[in-house]
């Protein structure tokens, strides 16, 4: 059975097999193109991101769901990868796991301070959803 960890490991393995920045660039580019358009509403806009990024996170029956969109194809590719990891993950999985994808990324532009900050903001939205929902359940 697929878990958050196994999905993340699969993507990390794929990234690690791509030995150049250019190959990873194409990997994220392709992910972005293969994904349908996400929500472009101000409500879901991530503040402070260099390129515009929209992330909608919600939960149903104790499981996380995500929709993602960005003006930047490379950033959208990364967001799609995040979605692949977190989609349908249980609250328990989210709270007991670490987001490790960035350690395998070679594309320098994805690793700059502002982008990392945005990624952390998105992770916080996912984690917050598990907390808020838990409170709602209680």
């Amino acid at each position: 059975m697929e878990t958050l960890i196994s999905r993340q490991e699969k993507i990390i393995k794929e990234l690690d097999s791509l030995d150049t920045e250019l190959k990873q660039f194409d990997y994220f580019f392709n992910k972005a193109f293969l994904f349908k358009e996400g929500p472009r509403s101000d409500k879901y806009l991530i503040e402070g991101c260099i390129s515009k990024a929209w992330v909608k996170v919600w939960s149903k029956e104790n499981k996380i769901h995500m929709e993602v969109e960005s003006d930047s194809l490379i950033l959208k590719g990364l967001l799609v990868a995040m979605k692949e990891i977190y989609e349908e993950a249980s609250f328990e999985e989210v709270n007991n796991s670490e987001f490790l994808l960035m350690k395998s990324i070679k594309v320098v532009g994805l690793l700059d301070e502002h982008r990392m900050e945005s990624i952390n903001k998105i992770l916080k939205i996912v984690i917050d959803e598990t907390q808020v929902s838990n409170r709602r359940i209680k």
Binding site: E21, S51, V108, G109
Partner: protein
């Protein structure tokens, strides 16, 4: 100019990179590196406070660098040269000084949409009304808009000599003349201008000018505030500390430039900047100008050939900067793709949000040349831009 020999003077360029981010920081020249290193090894003693030989030697080096800057921008006197950490600090320093020395009640400050954030925010944060001259949809400054905004109530005009986005040189003569006729002070942000054309503060007749060392092949963390001495002498210093005060209890300040240079300065940076100026003068600004004009023209033409490119720069009367967007491709993606090939460009809002709002783009790619670049490097950039375009076209319907 023997380009191969010239590039030897820049250790940074020995890396396998194609460097097109000169408007942000120029590579540091060997003269600067050697003088800085030499200063740290032999002369790094604090100035003005030691009666020993090393301190005096250090003082001599700083004085020498100040003289080089004075001559470089044709200031009337060395005391008009204030060393800061860079153009940003120069602008903040003069803003604070003006705000604590003058009454801006009922006065206005005129600036333009072309300004870098560093020549925008310090004024907006003040208590005066800020009037912003507009540019055309293509980013070209409307000179008439500036002239129309200057009136009897204008206390200050603060304006760039060259846009860091479009590269346009701004014809400042009439603007400065009108500002002075109305009794306003004039600040010129020469950060993007000084590496490409002679800045002659006396001919320009500006009251203040600012620039940074790292944009003239010198060190980071050092810059200059030029101010006409008769005005500077009438202003209060905004920073306080050692080596700027004559009588602490009476708050009497030392003469210029010391009263504006509180604390220990970036002495090695000053010496290094002096070295960079010497290096630039040895090459000759006219030679630099000639070479850069040709390179810009080549770059401009080659980028224009790419289908779907929208240019926000002009070929004539401008610094060697070409800013553009490409239809259907985010500018940050372009920069990241180029980075995979070790091509260094800038993308984003370029610290110029008001201008980008005017020209209605989210972000731009900026290619900024120096005379050290080559046509071959430009060809490599063009072929790489074509590659990313092909990659996107492959997926688009």
């Amino acid at each position: 100019m023997n380009l191969k020999e010239l590039r030897e003077d820049f250790p940074l360029l020995k890396q396998e990179i194609t460097y097109f981010d000169n408007a942000a920081t120029t590579p540091t020249c060997k003269t600067c590196i050697d003088l800085t290193s030499d200063y740290y090894e032999k002369d790094c003693f604090n100035i003005h406070r030691g009666g020993y030989k090393g301190s005096l030697r250090s003082e001599g080096k700083i004085d020498e660098a100040r003289a080089l800057v004075k001559s470089f921008i044709n200031a009337e006197s060395k005391k008009e040269i204030i060393f800061t950490s860079g153009a940003t600090e120069s602008l903040n320093l003069i803003a604070k000084s003006l705000f604590c020395s003058m009454d801006f009640q009922g006065k206005n400050i005129v600036t333009t949409e072309l300004e870098h954030h560093s020549n925008f925010i310090p004024w907006i944060m003040g208590k005066a009304e800020v009037k912003i001259a507009t540019s055309e949809k293509d980013g070209k400054l409307r000179i008439k808009s500036v002239l129309d905004l200057i009136d009897e109530k204008t206390g200050l005009l603060t304006i760039t000599a060259c846009s860091n986005v479009t590269g346009d040189f701004i014809d400042l003569k009439d603007i400065i003349k009108k500002a002075h006729q109305k009794g306003a002070f004039v600040i010129v942000d020469a950060s993007q201008y000084i590496a490409h054309r002679k800045l002659d503060v006396q001919e320009l007749n500006c009251d203040f000018a600012v620039f940074s060392g790292h944009k003239i092949y010198g060190p980071t963390g050092i810059g200059v505030l030029y101010g006409k001495s008769e005005i500077m002498e009438s202003l209060n210093p905004p920073k306080f500390g050692g080596d700027m005060v004559l009588n602490v209890m009476k708050q009497e300040w030392l003469p210029l430039p010391s009263r504006f240079e509180a604390g220990t300065l970036n002495l090695a940076g000053i010496v290094g900047m002096g070295g960079a100026i010497q290096w630039m003068e040895k090459q000759g600004l006219k030679n630099i100008e000639e070479r850069e004009k040709n390179l810009k023209s080549y770059l401009f033409n080659r980028i224009s050939e790419i289908e779907g490119v929208k240019m926000f720069s002009r070929k004539e009367n401008s610094a060697p900067i070409v800013s553009f967007s490409m239809e259907g491709i985010n500018s940050n993606d372009i920069a990241m793709f180029l980075a995979t090939k070790e091509i260094c460009v800038r993308s984003g809002k370029l610290c110029a949000q008001p201008l980008l709002a005017r020209i209605d783009v989210e972000s731009l790619v900026r290619v900024s040349l120096s005379f050290l670049n080559t046509e071959k490097e430009i060809d490599f950039l063009i072929s790489s831009l074509r590659q990313i375009k092909e990659r996107v076209s492959k997926w688009k319907p």
